[in-house]
């Protein structure tokens, strides 16, 4: 088995991993990017729709265009990478030493590294996670699987589509099917409000006359060989189906866009601590987890709305890795926990030092109008006409602002009704 030494090993070559690899190279780290698939780029490769890069490049790009800009940069820097390479296991040898065992078509490699940046993305929730009973015939796809088939391999799964979940992924897939001439019969959303960005509700559903069923749940799949129909019911305030409200929607295809779950099995095996609200790891402001020297970025950290944030996190993790190496570990710090206040579902990172700039990512629990988002400990406030769980709140706190909270032990974010 081949043994190699690195400053950092980056697992997963989607936008977070690529951004981390580029940044690590720029910072002079010896880095390698390890990718499972036979090509770099991750999910944006199959995203032929626009909406990428508005923040990072100040341009509206497709996923493919967005990620290609990074490929050019990678090439110039000569970023080392491995394709068709599956991380078999991670051995946490010491705080500053990990061994990443990788299965590749060239043989098994043991990558000895001081730090690890984990950017393996998320997996999709599948049909058995959404409490739907009935048959299990052909014709049930996750949104990502359907997108891979359509936009990488040019295969259309079916003609009459029902989409479960109105997050951005579901909305974009609804439009994608409609554009190819398939009939999208319904988008089903459990909550009483849509799960995706407003622009996508308009551009993906309304523009194509696709009905959105809010406050509905798919309860049963019917079909022996192929999906024949899906049974849908209204839900009450507790999100339980109301008897007698069932309706049947005939279709040949069900596309599940019922949310993403950070893909962390590999790290959970070595003791990763998970935040139940993000289902991602608990991290400090360098995106370092409870396992010293292990950093997580992108959708493996928290499910993001925008690829721009994913890239930002990848770069931050690389900076964290350098800081870790320079100091033989992140120096001991009186970390201040970041607390979820009123109507806040989660905030990442979970710990800040107050000694440097930090970006907080948060989501609200429920939609609310005319509110103020506040971090009282630093006196920061932002008036918002509208907050929705679908739209991530991103706040950059400068070191100067944070110094105002030097004497407090924690900081918190809350949403308070405005006047």
């Amino acid at each position: 088995m081949l043994e190699l030494n690195y400053d950092t090993v980056i697992i997963g070559a989607g936008p977070a991993g690529i951004a981390a690899a580029i940044k690590a190279n720029e910072l002079g780290l010896k880095a390698v990017l390890v990718e499972n698939r036979d090509l770099l780029g991750g999910i944006p490769l199959q995203c032929v729709h626009p909406g990428f890069g508005l923040h990072y490049f100040k341009e509206d790009l497709t996923g493919t265009e967005f990620i290609y800009r990074f490929f050019d940069k990678m090439e110039k820097l000569g970023v080392e990478h491995l394709l068709k390479s599956h991380v078999h296991s991670i051995e946490p040898v010491a705080h500053n030493e990990k061994v990443v065992n990788v299965i590749t078509p060239q043989g098994v490699m043991r990558l000895k590294t001081k730090t690890l940046i984990y950017t393996a993305g998320a997996r999709e929730r599948h049909v058995f996670e959404i409490n739907i009973v009935g048959d299990r015939p052909a014709g049930i796809y996750t949104a990502g699987e359907a997108q891979t088939l359509m936009d990488i391999y040019g295969i259309i799964p079916g003609k009459e589509i029902v989409i479960i979940g109105s997050g951005d992924v579901g909305l974009i897939m609804a439009r994608r099917f409609a554009l190819e001439g398939a009939k999208v019969k319904a988008v089903i959303e459990l909550m009483h409000y849509p799960g995706g960005l407003m622009r996508n509700i308009v551009q993906c559903l309304q523009d194509y006359d696709i009905p959105l069923y809010l406050g509905h749940v798919a309860t049963k799949v019917v079909g022996k060989k192929r999906v024949e129909k899906v049974v849908v019911a209204k839900v009450d305030e507790k999100l339980k189906p109301i008897e007698g409200t069932e309706l049947e929607i005939p279709c040949d295809t069900i596309v599940l866009a019922a949310g993403l779950v950070p893909n962390l099995d590999m790290l959970e095996k070595i003791g990763l601590v998970i935040d139940p609200y993000t289902r991602g790891p608990v991290v400090n402001e360098f995106l370092e987890t409870n396992i010293p020297g292990v950093f997580v970025a992108g959708n493996a950290l928290v499910i993001n709305d925008l690829v721009d944030y994913v890239v930002e996190q990848g770069e931050l993790a690389a900076e964290g890795a350098r800081y870790f190496i320079e100091n033989d570990g992140i120096p001991t710090t009186d970390w201040k926990p970041v607390i979820r206040g009123r109507n806040i579902r989660f905030i990442v990172p979970h710990y800040v030092s107050g000694k440097r700039d930090v970006i907080l990512y948060a989501r609200v629990r429920q939609p609310e109008k005319n509110v103020v988002v506040a971090i009282p400990e630093v006196g920061w406030k932002m008036k918002q006409f509208n907050v929705r769980p679908a739209e991530m709140i991103r706040v950059k706190l400068t070191k100067r602002l944070l110094e105002r909270a030097a004497s407090v032990e924690k900081i918190s974010m809350e949403v308070i009704p405005g006047e």
Binding site: M1, K84, H88, I155, I156, K225
Partner: protein, 498 residues
């Protein structure tokens, strides 16, 4: 001239009969199956228990009692010869009150009558040490040390591969449409893939064995009812892992709800037992009511259940239920050559190797066969070489010989491209007509992990497309196609307006 035999149904019973018959020069065996693959009926979706035999009443079901005990012993040998994943942790029938205890203790008596070794009662302190995952409110349990659990779908595949290796022909997608009888003698079966000539037709069609029997004009009053069982399967990565095969005290229709750690390390709980209408023989849908029942019973049985987020699959299977629970194993005079191995309900899986021996003797006596052993009968079947079961050093060596072992297709279960290709080759060799994604899944375990195939289904489809020579959208998932056509060609109206 060897006796031409057609076995209807490639479930565990039909396959086991095929394997046993393949040992002799006297038979020319064709195994006929309506599905695209073997073992897709009751044999696939069950609790996967090899029962000890202490739950069978010898005066009511003497054959069940005897063949269950013999089958339990034979599976130890068969699993070794055929490399089928199996383990023998023993089972605990847990009771929670005196009434349940009373009904559970009855099985000690049955164990004595059926000569099942080692069955005894254990009480709370010992019980909780034997298996700390049992609910501590249990009073005790009946312990039966000879119980095992097997990978049921892999077992059927292994038995068929070995039977084919020894000369059996497999015909899939060959639903039987008629049994041809001339002058009160069977001549063969009409199938969806043509006529199969046979001197002896063995009906091992499970849920459909009543229909096949009626086609031969035998036992027109005999009906097999579907009894549905629903299950939950959890991810490997959960804390609750029963060491023994746990179950609640049986009721008149079921063996109770089980909680087991499968041979692949997943917690599985179930089943329900729900009698369905006679014609509901494909009603393998799950129901909210059924699944809730399993959940509640398992909460009673176990100290704790994992969170629902760790459920990776729910499924339902149908078990065949003959009148009075009686198996119908019989060789008929009219029509001569027709043999029923019908209505094989639980403990059918356990008993299958012993049923096969029993049927062999039935055929030998009925048709006066001499039984000449084949000189080169091969009892062994090797398993697919699996990256997941090897050390990294061994994987490295495998890759040096074949780089496809270094390309991982299924991340959750660490299944390589080489394994998928081997599965495709094995299916072709066994005589499977259509290579399905489900066929690959059951052979390689790709897609059986936490993501349930959302990362690897299309990779398997690509390999099937490549190695079985079909366009990607025409790859079959289980019984229907993966896609309907090419994005750019299919649904767009033509520029001329049609």
């Amino acid at each position: 001239m060897p006796l031409k035999i057609a076995i209807v149904g490639a479930g565990i019973v039909g396959s086991s009969i095929a394997r046993v018959l393949s040992m002799y020069e006297d038979f020319d065996v064709t195994l006929v199956e309506k599905e695209p693959d073997v073992g897709w009926g009751s044999s696939k979706a069950n609790t996967a228990i090899i029962h000890p035999g202490h739950e069978e009443e010898p005066d009511v079901h003497p054959l069940r009692a005897r063949l269950c005990r013999e089958g339990n012993a034979l599976w130890r040998q068969w699993a070794r010869e055929l490399n089928i994943p199996v383990k023998w942790p023993g089972e605990l029938m847990v009771f929670f009150n005196e009434e349940e205890e009373k009904s559970a203790r009855k099985y000690i008596e049955l164990a004595k009558l059926n000569k099942i070794p080692g069955v005894r009662a254990v009480y709370r302190d010992e019980l909780l040490q034997m298996d700390p995952s049992v609910n501590p409110s249990a009073l005790g349990a009946i312990y039966a040390p000879t119980a095992g659990t097997i990978s049921s779908f892999e077992a059927v595949i292994a038995v068929v591969e070995n039977a084919v290796e020894n000369g059996v022909k497999l015909l899939t997608e060959a639903e039987v449409r008629g049994v041809k009888v001339v002058d009160k003698k069977v001549r063969g079966v009409e199938t969806a893939r043509g006529f199969v000539e046979a001197d002896v037709v063995i009906n091992a069609a499970g849920l459909y064995s009543d229909k096949i029997s009626h086609m031969a004009g035998v036992d027109s009053g005999f009906v097999v009812r579907p009894r549905r069982g629903e299950y939950f399967l959890f991810d490997e990565n959960v804390k609750v892992k029963p060491e023994k095969l746990l179950h609640t005290t049986p009721t008149p229709i079921t063996k109770g709800v089980y909680a087991i750690t499968t041979v692949h390390g997943n917690l599985m709980i179930g089943p329900t037992a729900e009698d369905l209408p006679i014609d509901a023989k494909d009603e393998t849908s799950t129901s909210e009511k059924g699944l809730e029942y399993v959940w509640k019973e398992s909460e009673r049985l176990l100290k704790e259940l994992p969170p629902r987020a760790k459920i990776i699959r729910t499924f339902a299977g149908l078990r065949p239920e003959p009148p009075g629970g009686h198996w119908r194993i019989e060789a008929y005079d009219d029509p001569w050559g027709f043999v029923n191995v019908a209505g094989i309900r639980s403990p059918g899986f356990t008993s299958a190797p012993a049923i096969a021996q029993y049927v062999l003797n039935l055929i030998k006596d009925k048709y006066d066969v001499s039984l000449v052993r084949k000189k080169h009968w091969n009892p062994h079947r090797s398993d697919i070489v699996r990256v997941k079961d090897r050390s990294l050093q061994e994987v490295d060596e495998l890759i040096r010989k074949n780089p496809d072992y270094g390309e991982i297709i299924c991340y959750c279960k660490t299944v390589s491209k080489a394994e998928v290709i081997e599965a495709i080759e094995r299916m072709k060799k066994a005589g499977v007509k259509t290579i399905t994604i489900d066929g690959i899944k059951f052979r390689t375990r790709a897609g059986l992990g936490m993501c349930q195939g959302s990362f690897c289904r299309w990779r398997m489809a690509l390999l099937i497309s490549q190695y079985a020579g079909v366009p990607l959208h025409k790859v079959v998932v289980k019984k229907d196609l993966y896609g309907i056509g090419e994005v750019k060609a299919l649904l767009k109206p033509t520029s001329q307006g049609g």
